[in-house]
Symmetry: C2
Subunit: 329 residues, 2 copies
């Protein structure tokens, strides 16, 4: 059942609730009536696609402590082709980073970005312009740095993972059940919803992974006063301008980055962003795991076998940069 051991301390929450932010109502007209077959071997039935749709919203699930810590809440933003599930439970059944931050006393908000998971997605080419992208297991194995390009094989025994890798490679295909389709070119749409989320939550800590790390850096640039600290886990991009009056930044990197041409390029972009933060008088720290003697992390340190260790390092960094909690709250 993958349930944690009974010895795990009890989670005491005042509420678990969910909501949507962002989006708009879109009208479609002039489309042909469609024929859909609702039952196998049944007759096709007419369905009129003309009318109004909601589009562009994102989904947020909030986990709120029974005893508030007085610290800003943590927002967990997933990467491209993923959902908030990335933060819940690892593919091999260990508690994820949502639990790590809850058990450290933070309120935690886990979201599904626009077009991903429970946020829903819209018709194309009527509302979205282009068709979606579906990621193959082969591409994920390489891009997520589980092993070398071409290292995935249909038969698990014939796969090549990075020696000493921290990713639970035997659960890689289970990990792929978490993947959802994505669209290219929806940055503005996605950022608009993240902006609405920051506006709604108020002062918070944003932890973004991969594409979500790039969104976090850009969202913080736009609303620096709503963010107490930002953690970009292997961001796949960064805004060209860092902005001014920025909160503390932490950039987290796993292993095998320099050896991967795409990730080496992404990291160069992100290093320039860190320099921009520092040039503006901000704090920009880098948690380079191999440089700290922690080897073998994939693109998903929150799923790796040492995920609890990496979470602990991020929590320690937060302890160092956050103002002491207000005892009155």
């Amino acid at each position: 059942m993958n349930a944690p051991a009974a010895s795990t301390p009890t989670l005491r929450l005042r509420a678990i609730h969910s909501f949507f932010v962002g989006g708009r109502t879109v009208a479609l007209q002039g489309l042909p009536v469609e024929q859909h077959r609702f039952a196998q071997n049944g007759a096709a039935r007419a369905v009129d696609p003309n009318g109004h749709y909601r589009s562009g919203q994102m989904y947020v699930q909030a986990f709120l402590q029974a005893q508030p810590s007085g610290r800003p809440p943590v927002l967990l933003w997933h990467g491209g082709g993923m959902t908030g599930v990335n933060w819940e439970t690892t593919p091999d059944g260990r508690p994820g980073w949502r639990d790590a931050f809850l058990r450290a006393g933070y309120d935690v908000y886990v979201s599904d970005a626009v077009e991903r998971g429970r946020a829903g997605w819209s018709r194309w080419p009527d509302i979205y312009e282009a068709p979606p992208l579906h990621r193959t297991l082969e591409e994920g194995w390489d891009m997520f740095r589980i092993g070398p390009a071409g290292g995935w094989h249909e038969h698990a025994t014939q796969r090549r993972a990075h020696p000493g890798g921290q990713f639970p490679a035997a659960a890689f295909d289970d990990f792929a059940t978490q993947w959802v389709p994505r669209w290219a070119g929806h940055e503005a749409l996605t950022l608009a919803a993240y902006d609405a989320l920051l506006q709604r939550i108020g002062r918070c800590i944003v932890i973004g992974h991969s594409q979500g790390g790039g969104f976090a850096l850009e969202a913080v640039r736009r609303r620096p006063h709503d963010v107490a600290a930002v953690v970009a886990i292997e961001p796949s991009g960064a805004p060209a301008q860092a902005g001014a009056t920025l909160p503390p930044h932490l950039y987290v990197w796993g292993d095998h980055v320099q050896a991967h041409p795409v990730w080496r390029g992404y990291r160069e972009t992100v290093e320039r962003h860190a320099q921009g933060v520092r040039a503006a008088g901000g704090r920009a720290d880098v948690l380079d795991l191999p440089r700290e003697g922690v080897h073998g992390n994939s693109h998903f340190p929150m799923l790796d076998l040492n995920a609890a260790d990496v979470a602990g390092r991020v929590l320690s960094w937060l302890d160092g940069v956050l103002e002491p909690p207000d005892p009155a709250t």
Copy 2:
């Protein structure tokens, strides 16, 4: 923030975790390499869709009590074009049925069925045969019995809801942010994953809504010994054969069913199923809300303004049909 009042009792949980069940790995080959534009005004980049994909899994989020009640856990199955969000928080921000069952002491499993929400979905026509269906606000207003057909209007002041209706109609467009695309004709695919879920969880209570109510009735027919009781909330269908040795069944109906031609037809099918359960010696109870003096319920009694009252009636029914909990657990 829609957060419940601070006076709500604390939820004490030993774990919140998630997992996927069902599905398979699918290979695609011979497809043309696609061109996708990843940045606005950027150059298109080649993406090779050939390779392997996971398909057919469903997503489950488990909420487990710190103090187990000894009762079977409750599985909440959403309806067509929906996700598990239906059970979380109402569109106007009240706690949903997940909370009602958690606060009554049950372990609760909330799922996203195959192709919905966090379960992900697959390419078509390569893996799925047909394109998806997206529901308009106009269709939802009618089919969910918020008001008469044609009663939705772009301007909220010009909408016509059923007089005395229990649905929080002012939040109807917010409700539509919960809707996700669906496919027609995926019954076998979806039921295969539900079957894997029942196999994994073991003895449980299944509460299914609308399309999920029909799936619940069929899943119970297939695995009667894994189900302690089944509650079908406004099921949009039922298997032709009820099966033998069945656990207790409860069918829940809201208002305006007889006046709606589609729902009148669905209900006739379901009434025949209830008769089949009784003919096989099983218990088949009907909670007809208007007949009990509870008027105005929509197709979504778990979202209606009297949702807590309806949940209480379902909980009372469960108290009456379940065996007393084993004090040893």
